[in-house]
Symmetry: C2
């Protein structure tokens, strides 16, 4: 899978570390790291929580137009 650079960018824009985002979302840092790395298939509730913490929507962070 491809890295989630949109998520990484959104996090950087808020000046949050993976650990800080993890705490907001109440998962471990490793989970956040894995989601950004892309080698993962997170649950939608986690994706939604991440979106809300970063002020983005699902389409903005997890949708890839026209892919496959």
């Amino acid at each position: 899978m491809a890295k989630n650079l949109k998520m990484k960018a959104a996090r950087a824009a808020l000046d949050l570390s993976q650990d800080e985002l993890a705490k907001k979302v109440k998962v471990t840092r490793q989970t956040i790291s894995a989601v950004e790395s892309g080698d993962y298939n997170p649950t939608i509730n986690l994706c939604i929580d991440i979106c809300r913490a970063l002020g983005k929507t699902l389409d903005e962070l997890f949708w890839e137009e026209g892919k496959k």
Copy 2:
């Protein structure tokens, strides 16, 4: 959790049964039923596959504006 009526409507608009959608998406009918029932936390890849099968985006089927 709340029922996913947007998904149910999108499926109805294409005149697909849960079983037909399930086959397109390559999961079981029970899984589709559970996702629509809302008592579930599906993976994002499944959500994306469902969206593609129904011609919708994540925001259109799985995003709820302003909810908590």
